[in-house]
């Protein structure tokens, strides 16, 4: 009975700590809703803390390919993400074109992109620290120029 209690306590504390860490790091959120035709609805919520960790489990050849395709842009992404972290609350771009709407801002240390047009809405929210981590990781796989 005592052993079970210890295991439960250990498990509970681990879950609580992991939950607290995940909550602190934030969540990557992607919502895509299509209301036209057989509209698709994609909702992805991923704890930001696991993204850099998960990248270590991606097969090396896939990371090399990603690095080859996107690596050259990563230093720029890294600088933008790093600098934007200094502006946790900022309205960056807002475009209204009739019924189309795009809004890019930082809120609470996250980059938030909202795009709306008739029949489709896209909302993306990603912690800037995660973008910074991922860009650094991908840049390390870029072919040497």
């Amino acid at each position: 009975m005592i052993l079970l209690a210890k295991i439960a306590l250990g498990f509970g504390a681990t879950v609580l700590m992991a939950g607290a860490y995940t909550f602190r790091e934030g969540v990557l959120r992607v919502d895509v809703d299509e209301s036209r035709g057989r509209g698709q609805h994609v909702h992805v919520w991923v704890p930001a803390a696991i993204i850099p960790m998960a990248m270590h489990f991606v097969p090396r050849n896939q990371m090399n390919h990603a690095g080859y395709e996107a690596g050259k842009f990563m230093p720029l992404v890294h600088v933008v993400a790093k600098e934007l972290q200094k502006y946790p609350e900022a309205e960056l771009v807002e475009v209204k074109d009739g019924v189309k709407y795009v809004h890019i801002r930082t809120h609470d240390g996250k980059l938030m992109i909202d795009a709306e047009e008739p029949g489709q809405t896209v909302h993306v929210s990603c912690p800037l620290a995660t973008i910074d981590d991922v860009s650094r990781e991908l840049a390390s796989f870029a072919p040497a120029s």
Binding site: K6, M17, E91
Partner: protein, 204 residues
Amino acid sequence: MVNRTRKLFPAIAFLAASALFAPLHTSAQTSSTASDTSAHGERWLHVRVISSNSKGETVRVNVPLDLAEKVIPAIDHDRLHNGKVRIGCMDCDGVDVRTLFEAVRSAKDGEYVTVQSEDADIKVSKKDGQMYVHVHDKKKSKDSRVEVKMPMKVVEALLSGSKDELDLAAGLHALASQGDVELVSVKDDENTIRVWLDSKNVTD
């Protein structure tokens, strides 16, 4: 062992609760500090385009100059490298832009170009270290006006690179040292365009 477990439980619970509430505390701090006026010393470049056509197009862009200053040198694409953009026609139609600018810079304040015609009035002048360009287009149904105010130090910084390039990074750096200033203002029957610099992180 049971006692030890019992003693550890409050400590673990406290640690977990502290970690759980840490971001909320940070978030609250962040929210309370966010306001119209940005932190001391921050300079923001704003662009606003408002169209009065049926669609009512609106564009609002707010860029921290500090961010732009650091991001531009990181762009390595086409004609833009190391914060400098290559301009092929700095010697435009036989006019050496750099020499022309040097002449304006070293000259005294005054009006340099004044054109008055049925189609448009154009005026280029210099006053208190600022270069002004004023264009009044009379051809359109409603008067169209373009006002450009460019600090000479910024133009000087832009032209500080080699002969066929503009040093954008240096230009932004020089711009950051300027006070609140409206750089470009365009008004015509359809659009209102403003580009200005201040220390606020929102447009209106």
